[in-house]
């Protein structure tokens, strides 16, 4: 991965998150505690603040620092989980530069695996994993099959959207919404939606030449 792409992605994700304030806030208010947007905003702001410091570093160190920063600024359930993604990506990047789509897909799949471990959760529990797992699967399959990049990005975006939407009809068994039982049905999970927004934004960015 390239540091300049990561820096661009930070800015793009920040904008996308800020643009979804009302929606993310109300999703977490409905079946959570209403702070998911605030948590993400705080994390994004912290990453934006460290751009200069990051610019001079190789990608593995960039990802590791981002992970540590998110870990110490977001808090809540999403903090350790998002941090885990970046810290796992960093570990991979260190041993083998993810300079092809299959390698990036493998690193991402490992990150999602790490999130599953950390959250002791899997598919269908009405969490961000309902977005992340299908994305990781699609990404790996299509890139290993040698599909063209654009098709892969589109497929990832579709998988994310579909995964996110699937949370609407689920009962939550992990996270704060798990306390609600049946009352969580009919509401999309905030973390599933925010991950989908983030993935959509990064895929869109990847599509354009740097």
């Amino acid at each position: 991965m390239r540091t300049d792409f990561i820096l661009k992605a930070i800015e793009a994700v920040n904008q996308a998150v800020l643009a979804s304030e009302a929606e993310l806030e109300s999703l977490d208010r409905e079946i959570g505690d209403g702070d998911h947007f605030i948590n993400l905003k705080r994390g994004c702001a912290a990453l934006l603040d460290m751009r200069e410091e990051l610019a001079a570093l190789p990608a593995d160190q960039v990802l590791q620092r981002m992970g540590m920063k998110l870990l110490s600024t977001i808090g809540g359930a999403s903090g350790p989980l998002l941090a885990t993604i970046f810290m796992t990506l960093a570990k991979h990047e260190k041993t083998e530069t993810a300079d092809t789509l299959p390698k990036i897909a493998a690193a991402f799949a490992a990150s999602v695996e790490a999130v599953k471990q950390r959250g002791k959760a899997g598919l269908g529990e009405k969490t961000m994993l309902d977005t992340l797992i299908p994305v990781a699967d699609t990404f790996s399959q299509l890139s290993n099959a040698g599909e063209p990049a654009d098709a892969i990005y589109t497929a990832i975006q579709q998988a994310a959207e579909q995964g996110m939407r699937s949370t609407r009809d689920l009962i939550a068994t992990k996270g704060r919404a798990a306390f609600l039982g049946e009352r969580a049905i009919g509401h999309i999970d905030a973390g599933a939606r925010s991950s989908q927004i983030i993935i959509h934004t990064i895929a869109e960015l990847a599509r354009k030449p740097l």
């Binding site: 209403g34 704060r176 798990a178």
Partner: protein, 329 residues
């Protein structure tokens, strides 16, 4: 939203600063990462550390001091603290006998404390509190939430740690108290997270939320407002259904206010609950009424019953000197 604040982003630090200033004889405040320790570091005891999202004051910072916590890590409002806070706090208060984390059972708190524990260079253990009977327990889910019963766990374990007991003993007593403690809450109004600026949920003038969480999470059901005795009956039923205490059992009865409910009403709830519990043949030998575990500016209350035994009673009674609980010192 009408609150006494200057800037939403500064609320936490300004409030912590006021807390530390007002109780400078008891605590010290450390910022960036944020944690509160006792003014005078305790020696030769298990270090008891708790923490969680802010907005539940006096929980947990108000329980730092002799006989309870060695340190507390306050997160942002309703957001669990991050591992760097726990690590720095542990570094500051570890006294050679290991670290015990007392953590309310929420995914965020559990994961952040877990990551801190993994990085901790000291012997450590964790007590997860999960006293909220509004939530069904199940091995496949997150399980129950930790709520006001956490205060009892912190008091009792804190007292044992003061005697020089080892980490395993402290952990075992914490788990025991948690397993003998059940809480059920009810909200009359929503809370408003300052950064969100609007109530977390809408509730009509003739409604209540039965089994609400201390972050304004929806409870078991939305119901029609009714007389206090009828509300208390439901709270007590849920607790007894869970604890199934033998007749003649000795209990601690805690009536906790969520912040906006006046003491006058809390005592009325206490009166009602005490009557029902005594009618069940229970012996209320210890009581506590007040705002011990709040939910920002929510109106509402929870009832907690802890089944006492000689050990728990003795550690509940022992001297404590914190901002939020103080006796015999």
């Amino acid at each position: 939203m009408k609150k006494f604040i200057n800037d939403v982003d500064q609320l936490l630090v300004e409030s912590l600063s006021g807390f530390a200033r007002a109780h400078a004889d008891i605590v010290s405040l450390h910022l960036d990462p944020n944690f509160v320790t006792r003014r005078h570091k305790a020696e030769n005891k298990v270090a008891i550390i708790s923490g969680g999202g802010s907005g539940h004051e006096p929980l947990h910072t108000g329980y730092v001091g002799y006989g309870m916590l060695d340190a507390a890590c306050p997160g942002h409002v309703f957001t669990s603290p991050s591992p760097d806070q726990m690590l720095a706090a542990a570094e500051a208060v570890h006294a050679g006998k290991g670290v015990l984390f007392i953590v309310k059972n929420y995914a965020g708190d559990v994961m952040n404390f877990e990551m801190a524990a993994e990085m901790l260079p000291f012997e450590h253990a964790t007590v997860l509190t999960s006293d909220d009977v509004a939530v069904e327990n199940s091995t496949y889910t997150t399980g129950r939430r930790g709520v006001a019963g956490t205060v009892i766990v912190e008091k009792v374990v804190g007292s044992l740690a003061e005697t020089g007991a080892d980490l395993a003993a402290c952990k075992a007593l914490g788990d025991k108290v948690n397993s003998r403690t059940a809480t059920m809450g009810v909200a009359l109004t929503s809370c408003t997270v300052p950064a969100a600026g609007r109530p977390t949920f809408d509730i009509a003038d003739n409604e209540l939320e039965m089994g609400v969480g201390i972050h304004g999470e929806p409870g078991r059901r939305r119901e029609a407002m009714r007389q206090a005795d009828a509300i208390v009956q439901d709270l007590v039923d849920a607790i007894l259904h869970d604890l199934k205490p033998a007749s003649g059992s000795e209990i601690l009865l805690l009536v906790n206010g969520f912040a906006a409910t006046p003491l006058m009403e809390l005592y009325l709830l206490y009166n009602s609950a005490a009557g029902l519990l005594e009618a069940q043949g229970l012996k209320i030998s210890r009581s506590h009424v007040g705002n011990t575990t709040t939910a920002l500016d929510m109106a509402g209350a929870s009832i907690t019953v802890c089944l006492l035994d000689d050990e728990i009673r003795q550690h509940w009674d022992s001297p404590v000197h914190t901002a939020g609980l103080r006796w015999q010192l």
